[in-house]
């Protein structure tokens, strides 16, 4: 469905994930983070850039992958995006949440 985020018209799923990464902007990232009560910092953006790079390379995202990335440790990841760090950070990054085939 179509919605407006930070003044941009974008297409999102029922859960609020962008369906087209090319529509994503930093401002949209800020806006989604705000909806989850997150104030973005440099640390947050580092994670977002890492996730987007993995997404562009078709690589799978997992908490263990974050740990191995050297970008951030897991405790920090949980404190940056409390309550489901991977599902929230992917939403902020404008990419799909990790899914299964059903």
């Amino acid at each position: 469905m179509e919605t407006v985020l930070a003044g941009f018209k974008v297409n999102v799923t029922d859960e609020g994930y962008l369906t087209d990464f090319s529509q994503w902007t930093n401002e949209i990232g800020f806006e989604i983070a705000k909806e989850h009560g997150i104030e973005m910092t440099d640390q947050h953006w580092k994670v977002i850039e890492y996730l987007q790079e993995k997404f562009n390379n078709n690589e799978a995202l997992s908490i263990r992958g974050i740990k191995k990335s050297g970008i951030i440790n897991i405790k920090e990841f949980y404190s940056l995006f409390p309550g489901g760090p991977l599902k929230i950070s992917t939403k902020v990054a404008g990419i799909p949440k990790p899914v299964s085939c059903i």
């Binding site: 799923t13 029922d14 390379n57 078709n58 690589e59 799978a60 997992s62 908490i63 263990r64 992958g65 191995k68 897991i74 405790k75 990841f77 949980y78 489901g84 760090p85 991977l86 599902k87 949440k97 990790p98 899914v99 299964s100 085939c101 059903i102």
Partner: protein
Amino acid sequence: MKNLVILGAGTSGTMMANHLVSKLSKKDWKISIIDQYKTHYYQPGFLFLPFDTYTEDQVKKVGKKFIPKGVNYIQKKIEKILPEDNKVELEDETLDYDILIIATGSKIAPDETDGLLGPLWKKDIFDFYTYEGALALRNKLRDWEGGKLVVHLTEMPIKCPVAPLEFTFLADSFFTNKGMRDKVEITYVTPLTGAFTKPTCSSALGYLLKDKNIHMESDFAIECVDNEKKEIVDYGGKKVPFDLLVTVPTNMGDEVIERSGLGDDLNFVPTHKHTLQSKEHQNIFVIGDATNVPASKAGSVAHFQAETLTDNILLYTKGYSLKEEFDGHANCFIETGHNKALLIDFNYDQEPVHGTFPFSKIGPLKLLKESVFNHWGKLAFRWIYWNMLLKGIPIPFVGRNMSFKGKIFDIKKEK
């Protein structure tokens, strides 16, 4: 004479050998296939072994039987791929190749999770993704008296992503039939947002967990297994206690991919998702679980990929450009217990939908709906696997690309 070398004689490698032997000129091409193991396993059968539904003999055969005459079968360990020199080092010889097909699959890596290989491994903690694991679990279940059964999946991607859920449903059925369902508390633990992550599936199948009284723990990213307290612990501090843990450990590509520097973090080979050519080397192609393409790691996917890859290899040998054809098509039966199953059909872009399969309106199989007929389909598939799929015989009426006929794309319409 040119050399085409296939690494791995599992589902994908065996299918490619069968497809190519009749299509490449014997005068110009020598085909070799390498695998260190003698036994070919019917891996979907591992789901049924723990419940005594299948016997050992039904899920394994000698691999060589399925390699066609005219293909050079070498049972040796692969040490390293040297892509710059177009060579493959085996344990005691080196092969040259003009075209290489990587079909080395994926396997479980339980050592990636702290404590998983601790004192409880194979005592109260089991996998069913290996033949040995499935058998050990069968022996455990034969006289287990009940308690907390936790079915857990570590992280995506895994081979056959629906298998842990199928295991959960079959366990419910198994304990019900044994008259001890009231003694078993079943919990399904996933790192994803739920058992069903696609809207059509959660709306069509959400009832299954509730009806079967299966508890659910989502967004659970496992940090370690506490062998003393018998619980799994997540990075966020959540804990799930178990008496019997059935887990799907991290899945990774083969170590030879890592040794050769050809893989990503999980040893999967970066592969063009529509042509199946390696992203790094034009004369290397990758198929099945070994790729990093965002399709399911499943036999049906490998089967559809094999048809596209065969065409692309022929195009490549003639110097033509490749077809960007593979669409991520998967077609999977999902056991839901009590002799019923679902059927799903989907691809990279299209999530599973309702409808009939393979014929529009007629079926006889129904998509995304439980039926006894689908369950028979799943059981019949073992015969199809050994007798048709591995030999590269096309399955009638099921095309390599997903068909949109007979499918209902609007969920509301179905309701």
